[in-house]
Amino acid sequence: MVSSTSTPEHAWFRPVRDVRSGFNLAAWDVRIIAEAAIAIALAAALGQLRLFTMPQGGSVSLEMLPLLFLAARRGLGPAMIAGGLYGMVQLILPGAFIFHPAQAALDYPLAFAAVGVAGLVRPATWWRLSVAVALGMGGRLACHFLSGLIFFASYAPDWEAPWLYALTYNLLYLAPEAVITALLLWPLLKAYEAAFPAGPVDGRLSGQGRSRGR
């Protein structure tokens, strides 16, 4: 399995080879499959806890936290795949909101897969982790923004400046969610590392202790 020891510690991004092998699910360690599955379940559980609802609709929850946690630990591939699957799971949970096939794809699987973009950055410091969270949020924002445009195109075609409305609506709940998630993620990662000193935090794809075929 690819190891990232060859890249210098100060590198901002994960090595391309790690990123590429992250999408090859058949070569994943069973541990990553289990972690991704648990991250999806955790996201769904935390998604039920609404921190607060914005006055114009759209609510702030911690559902992104497990996905970003996975992105920090395992990198782009596992995080994007888990995010996409979490989006699919959401579609069958109560409260899913569908009015157009393209909107359903953009608002759920694609939006949460885009959160996994955070996995590009190696979260070595608090600052880099915040950049990673911002990247993930940007990806999600782009998807919700596009779906907003589709909404206006199909349900209110004569509305003026729909892009402005779609952008502000989504930013108004995504920005606080990003800030809160970034604030919580760093202490969480540190606490996890302290509890499991052996666990790979850098996103190496092979499990530390056990590996397949032994």
Partner: protein, 262 residues
């Protein structure tokens, strides 16, 4: 939270719709959704609305349960209706200052709203009569052709199945950790957003540690049972399609055919 033991929108039952093969139901739902979007005439809509209504009766799901699924749509319906009503161009019916209700606006507003409700009811019939795990199995089976372009559908289905299995467990975990921290004096409901988020750290740390330790144990258990990513798996409950599913196919095909010609 506190929605009881079932997750998702599944309503346990033994109706004709419940006993259908999940694959048949998924195909029927997708076909009907596409058909709804390709032909939006009142007559065609009436056919699909009738079909959805019959489905609701056959499924024997209580109306309150269906309403729960429809509730999030209400504001969208209102918004659509108002937007169409006032912003569509056409022959004016009534004027109210700068606002103008047109015939065309009224018609599109009605059409879009009815189509939306029918679409959601049809989707709801699928998720209400199919438990999440058979739904995942069915979806994975239908996506099997994608394996040809090396999409690992089997492994994806495994992840979703595990996730669905653990959602109720982890929800219970969240609640018990929150209770434990409240008992020690934690306060989750006061202060600004940042303070409230900070208050959650003592909940999230044990939650993540417990959850990911569980993932580790799960991986060990899977390995002990010779689970290998990339290998073929067999199932405890293989999916079996029967005559019932053929009947559903005929009904849906007939409805789409009728809607296309009238």
């Amino acid at each position: 939270m506190g929605r009881g033991p079932t997750i998702g929108q599944y309503f346990p039952g033994d109706s004709w719709l419940h006993r259908l093969d999940p694959r048949a139901k998924i195909v029927a739902t997708v076909a009907l959704a596409i058909a709804l979007f390709t032909r939006d005439a009142w007559a065609a809509l009436a056919v699909y609305a009738t079909l959805a209504a019959v489905g609701l009766v056959v499924s024997r799901v209580p109306p309150s349960f269906v309403w729960r699924g429809l509730k999030p749509l209400v504001w969208l319906l209102v918004l659509t209706f108002v937007a169409q009503l006032f912003f569509a161009r056409g022959e004016p019916l009534a004027e109210l200052g700068p606002l103008r209700i047109t015939r065309e606006g009224l018609e599109t507003a009605g059409l879009l709203s009815v189509r939306l409700v029918v679409l959601v009811v049809i989707g709801l019939l699928l998720t209400v009569t199919t438990p999440p795990i058979p739904l995942t199995d069915g979806l994975a089976w239908l996506l099997r052709p994608l394996r040809a372009i090396r999409v690992p559908t089997e492994e994806l289905a495994v992840m979703v199945t595990i996730a669905l299995r653990f959602i109720p467990t982890l929800l219970a975990e969240v609640q018990s950790i929150m209770m434990a921290q409240r008992a020690r004096g934690a306060d989750f409901s006061h202060g600004g957003p940042i303070r409230r988020a900070r208050a959650l750290v003592p909940v999230l740390v044990p939650l993540f540690i417990i959850s990911f330790r569980r993932a580790d144990e799960l991986a060990l258990a899977m390995e002990a049972r010779c689970y290998e990513p990339g290998q073929r798996r067999t199932r405890l409950h293989p999916l079996r399609a029967g005559r019932r599913d053929a009947v559903l196919g005929v009904i849906v095909a007939a409805a789409i055919g009728v809607a296309a010609v009238i």
